[in-house]
Subunit: 410 residues, 2 copies
């Protein structure tokens, strides 16, 4: 493979890193993480190439990006904006494809890394952008009513989640306690959630901010969004069902949201851009897309060692550019590190549903995982979300999202 990078000087796109070429972590991927490893004291920025990582503080010393790359996480790079994002990616591509550089770059085995939250999460907004998910939830909870509420096709419905409870992949998740009341119970009771669930989502990491009072049009998406992360928005359905009127989910969601340790830059997803499946009725002008920001990302949901679902992100009704335009249309400011997520990704088939609520149809239709019938999460369950997408040279892997359920506190 040989081409000229638009921002760099290399004429090769074949990496000198053994095992990288043709892998899911070739030079068309190059995600970022904040990691420690044996001998490192504080988290440092790294990128991944093949089964190795590059210490960006070391590799970037003396470059014009040195200050951004010496940080303990992505915050300064996020704030630096799209020119810097492209510049760093171009430099990295050159570094990892230039045989001359091989002498100087120290490679760390990726298995030696401990990943940390890669950026400081500002505000966290979670949308509800999958028509199949929203329809399933409507049918489960309102079997006699319209599956979709009247506003759903007119705006990307969303709400604020708790940014302080966002944790990195691998962090154990303790089963939350809370208040819940089944419809047939006269009074609420307190105790561990009995309907603990996952939500397989894709998250978008805001880079360059916007002051209060301004708006980001759909055409400004790539100027303000740095990249994507897998998201598991753990949900206590029993707590949520009792608390959520009229102000929306709160305790049922605020105990933990797991994000991938690796942030995939938007640039790596260029080959994954696809048109939306279609919007009817037509959206208001401020939500009209100027370019395709549907994304052909495939998700794999593994529960207890078994893949139970493969939600297709390409079928999402609302695009992330529309989500961002909606989020800011009232003048809400954006800060580097703000995170917004798609909401549960579900497809039309049973094995494409992104939550156990849907997979078990409200707990009434158990499914099989790990050799047993299942409805909601059990203590000790491990959930792994894996993400992949078409890259420039083949499929790229996005960072996985992993979590194991610990029993509730007594």
């Amino acid at each position: 493979m040989s081409t000229r990078s638009s921002t760099g000087t290399s004429t090769s796109t074949t990496s000198w890193v053994a095992g990288a070429t043709g892998s899911a972590h070739d030079v068309d991927n190059l995600p970022y993480a904040a990691a420690t490893w044996p001998g490192s004291a504080t988290p440092r920025l790294v990128t991944r190439i093949g089964d190795h990582a590059v210490d960006l503080a070391a590799a970037g010393a003396g470059t014009r990006w040195a200050d951004l790359l010496a940080a303990p996480g992505l915050d300064p790079l996020l704030a630096a904006g799209p020119e810097a994002w492209a510049g760093v990616r171009g430099w990295l591509t050159d570094l990892l494809t230039d045989e001359q550089a091989a002498r100087d770059v120290v490679l760390l085995p990726v298995d030696d890394l401990v990943l940390h939250l890669p950026f400081t999460v500002g505000d966290f907004v979670d949308f509800y952008a999958s028509e199949h998910h929203a329809t399933n939830v409507g049918r489960i909870f309102r079997p006699d009513g319209d599956a979709l509420l009247p506003n759903w096709r007119h705006l990307p419905v969303g709400y604020h989640g708790r940014s302080g409870s966002v944790v990195v992949s691998g962090t154990p998740v303790r089963r939350p306690c809370g208040q819940r009341k089944a419809p047939d119970e006269p009074l609420p009771s307190y105790g561990p959630s009995a309907r603990l669930d996952i939500e397989a989502e894709l998250g978008f990491v805001v880079g360059r901010g916007v002051p209060l009072g301004e708006r980001v049009p759909t055409s400004g998406f790539a100027d303000h969004v740095f990249g994507v992360v897998g998201v598991n928005d753990w949900s206590a359905r029993d707590v949520q069902a009792w608390e959520y009127v009229p102000l929306g989910p709160h305790l049922g969601k605020s105990f933990a949201t797991t994000v991938a340790g690796w942030v995939t830059p938007l640039a790596a997803l260029e080959p994954a851009r696809v048109p939306l499946p279609g919007q009817d009725p037509a959206v208001l002008p401020y939500l009209t897309e100027s370019a395709d920001w549907g994304l052909d990302v495939e998700i794999e949901v593994e529960l207890a060692g078994e893949v139970v679902s493969r939600p297709p992100y390409r079928l999402m009704y609302w695009s992330p550019a529309q989500m961002l335009a909606h989020l800011t249309v009232n003048g809400a400011s954006l800060r580097p590190g703000d995170l917004f997520a798609s909401g549960t990704v579900s497809g039309p088939e049973r094995d494409q549903r992104g939550s156990l609520l849907e997979l078990s149809w409200g707990g009434r239709e158990p499914f099989t995982a790990g050799g047993r019938e299942r409805t909601f999460l059990e203590d000790g369950d491990e959930v792994v979300l894996r993400y992949s997408a078409p890259g420039a040279f083949g499929r790229i892997a996005l960072g996985e999202v992993r979590g194991t359920i610990l029993p509730a506190l007594p």
Copy 2:
């Protein structure tokens, strides 16, 4: 007045600062702000005494609190915890009542200060804790149903707001645009909110944090909450009414939330503590109060130069200790700077309602302010929320919350 402070050495509680004694800013108050003034470059921590402010970085240099007080805002002091809060307050009380200190302390006229956001806002949770407000809203929007929803008396209903849109008193508020649809309209439209409203609230500033997975019992309230701020949670009712099902308010609230520049420490509100008006049915054990955290704070709502309402905080159904216990019962972490607010404070009388939605009964019963009939906010309107409470020596004033409406962007 003469007494011995439990933490200091002074034997007097009479301040040497001219005009302080007997004022609403006597030594029983001592709120904190982050301020600049002519000649100062970056924000510095100050306290207020009478009509003057003390530069805490200067006054605290050489004390054991020097590092906390040299910060550009409250963040380090918040994180330092209740021993430090009491220590600083004791030292300040000594300083401002010890005639010997008068030679060394530089007083700044409070009118010379420009106040900045006094702390970095972590997560912002807004509750809905006034029975009168929730009942009014229920009657306005669901005239034929139960005014209160089934969960309301069992848990303090709340949701996450946008922390990035929290601004300090005095910041102009631009009328937001957004999507709205009246019930008699076939389709939604886009434009400036026509039902822009206030919500007069009291906010609670979290100091010492709690790791993910732990809980704060009601008895832990004063270990984790540093102080209070007045809050105006500006609301676009038309946007909110269309968007809020099923995930709660989003764009209708996320364009601006104004907080007071002065944070009043919880210690100053000791004399304001009162029992709650009463809870029926009895709450679940995790919400049982171990001490009274009702607060006899009086609020004054001024619109266009006229006081239109006096909401009484002492009638709130849920206490802030219950709000905090609920907020963390699922293991949600707390960070210094997390902010939670009460929701609109309303009393049983018309002139005790904390929102224009209630004052105008959904816009159907105009009221008078500034010599004219009013329903919702007009461009150019200035709203001022003033707060006072019984202090140790008389009534103390909390920081006011001020904002003027700018016309929507074209």
